[in-house]
Assembly symmetry: C2
């Protein structure tokens, strides 16, 4: 199992002994996925949190009218799940689908709970992870509310250039909350 990325991700914030590292790794499972595969489907229960070793994933919600809204992208070194459903054992609100072939490490809710018991320091790690996720999400809310579509697009490609280059424009439009046609139009106007 490819574990170097996840260990350095964690050891940015907490230190682990060799024994603890081994214990942690024993709770993980590796999974390899090809393009368009689903890691999670809306309505299913969501029992795992995923760490991305390589590749790109997209989490998106489909509403009653069939409209596709991108919740997040995840690339190398990101964690992804439907957090609300994962934590509260509820049916998922989102789909998670492979955009570019992935290697992920999955951690089940049960194993995460064990991990907190065995190595309480992981509370600190996930606190920091959740803090960062919350701050990112809040900044996105502010920008969604206060900026017009073109500026949201510009902020997105500035903040996530690697993602912007790797995913379809219509998926970026879906992240920004606009139609692909409109994104096309505002891009054309500004060249």
């Amino acid at each position: 199992m490819k574990s170097d990325h996840i260990l350095s991700n964690i050891c940015q914030y907490i230190s682990l002994s060799p024994v603890e590292k081994d214990y942690f790794l024993s709770l993980l499972e590796e999974e390899n996925l090809s393009k368009k595969e689903f890691l999670l489907s809306q309505g299913e229960s969501c029992n795992h949190i995923y760490f991305v070793n390589s590749g790109i994933l997209r989490a998106f919600h489909i509403n009653q009218e069939g409209k596709d809204s991108t919740v997040m992208f995840a690339v190398k070194d990101w964690w992804i799940t439907d957090m609300h459903c994962f934590l509260n054992v509820l049916p998922s609100m989102v789909n998670i689908q492979v955009v570019a072939p992935c290697s992920v490490l999955k951690l089940s809710k049960n194993n995460l709970d064990k991990l907190y018991d065995e190595i309480p320091r992981f509370n600190k790690f996930f606190r920091i992870l959740m803090q960062n996720a919350y701050c990112r999400e809040q900044l996105r809310t502010i920008q969604n509310l206060s900026l017009p579509a073109l500026e949201r697009y510009e902020q997105f490609i500035k903040k996530y250039p690697h993602i912007a280059n790797a995913v379809a424009l219509k998926q970026i439009a879906s992240y920004l909350g606009i139609t692909p046609e409109f994104l096309s139009a505002i891009r054309a106007k500004n060249d």
Copy 2:
């Protein structure tokens, strides 16, 4: 200092000995604020996180064009700050203003860091707090992207009836990302 609310808020998730409770309380400061006072102003550095004993606060961002976007409301038992600025010691992106007279307990960044050192269990508490905040924010993002204004309004008053009753309609409009005039119009159409 009125400490019963904050202690029961914390002891929902972690247990504290009497000594630990006292130590924690020794790190807090009470503040009483009247309507329209600012707890934090955009551009200022944000050194505290606030727990609301009573009253209502509103966090909002003013963009370059002067448009007001409400980031969050906080009522009894909520925590509020500009989290990103608080954690990273950056100038605040938001204002926090009193909507209804408040009693708050403030905890400084320095004291929070001390607290993590002295009682590492607080990592668990803030992990859960941040998890909940992240999930709420993510749900809001999904709704902002996928629902039209009227449905976002209906969800808001359903989810936060006490807030909806206590704050100005134009502040709800600002939370929803629409103008007060438009909120008026869609409310009128649906009565």
